[in-house]
Subunit: 233 residues, 2 copies
Amino acid sequence: MPDSAIRPRKEFGKTIAADITHRLREEIVTCGLAPGEPLRFDVLRERFGASFTTLREALTALAAEGLVDAQEQRGFRVAPVSRQDLVEVTDARVLIEVELMRRAIQKGDDDWEIAVISTLHRLKRIEQRDPEHPLRDPEWKIAHRQFHQALVSACGSATLLAIRAELFDRAERYRLLSANFRPRPRDKAGEHQAIMQAAISRNADLAVQLIETHIRTTADNVAKYAGHLLDPE
Amino acid sequence: MPDSAIRPRKEFGKTIAADITHRLREEIVTCGLAPGEPLRFDVLRERFGASFTTLREALTALAAEGLVDAQEQRGFRVAPVSRQDLVEVTDARVLIEVELMRRAIQKGDDDWEIAVISTLHRLKRIEQRDPEHPLRDPEWKIAHRQFHQALVSACGSATLLAIRAELFDRAERYRLLSANFRPRPRDKAGEHQAIMQAAISRNADLAVQLIETHIRTTADNVAKYAGHLLDPE
DNA sequence: CCCAGACATATTTTCGAAAATCATACCGTT
DNA sequence: AACGGTATGATTTTCGAAAATATGTCTGGG
């Protein structure tokens, strides 16, 4: 693998800009960069080792995704969080994810079923390994994302999947924001199992209801345990 | 107004990049730049009078909106059109616009009613002035966009409004694509009037049904009259 | 004649300096 | 002391050259 020697910086994507976009998104979603924090070019330049222009391109892309707030002539900052935004993201997610769940259940073929089952399996394995603090574990995070992605992947609309992915990231930032203050993560394993079974058995109404509850419960917990971070000052 | 002398280029927004983004979006939506057309920097540089970097930032933003297709290391091109994409955009629009219509009807206050009525009024005036070919008239286009925007503006979700706006632009490109081949624009005036009345009288079910028909009929006409442009080669 | 490899050209991507803009502190006036 | 304007420093934004990458052409071997 000569690549890692030739292009050590580009873990993701071919261009540096795409790579920086990816890394910045990660940092913002995991709250490594705090909500509302100003993103000054000097600092970013040092942290990511890229030039003004390249960083600017990455920030512009993230601004379009809603993770970064662009203030013309006054730079960029991490998109702030708020109760209102959390409610909007949650509502939008329910609206879209419910629709995609129905479509996926209707259209899903064998490969879809296999993807749903196997991604849930991997998620469970990771949870078994360390049942204490899964929410912050990067591996759990990836597996969790992939399971939810797999559930709706067969919906047939790349357009809606892209929108869903953006909203998922924005919601995940809230989850991770509240993770530090949550006394104990609730039993998501059971919920995921139930959703998978409803989906595979093509029980659309049940799956949809479970998904909606899943999303709203998570959001409620964020509001409950990170409420002090959601209001101005 | 000394501004026009000081900053002759920046009609929209404060930064050149934002201005170029706006102008490029306009050109793409109106099909001044054809779907699939490669966007080479030399050409853009001459046409918009901005540097590589600034153009790159604009293209990145438009790529996130789905109007431009970014091929890493191989430049950008205007997002191609296809039957599949038209169907996806139409379905997504129906899903979201219907939901927003309901919310706006539920939440809309006096200002909302006034905005709906006045934007429709302006639209009608423009149609009366030139009842022949309104679809390509830039003024009609703006008024039409503002009427539909006003209808859902009271929904209470900036997040969903932003998504809606993106989808509206993508759909408008298809409308303008087919405008040249359409024998005669159908009577949209009546439809708009009916939608307005249903909305103002808070008849959500009717308004929603009219909106859905409005969107789908438009998309069907695009497929009908511009079908030859939607299939590969 | 067709294909693989190497060279040359075209195009994109990245960089850091330079210009433009904004924020802050300072100063003189009322 | 309060205010308005101005100079100064900090930060963003823009630019075109330079590096990196892709594309096209040509040549030689099969």
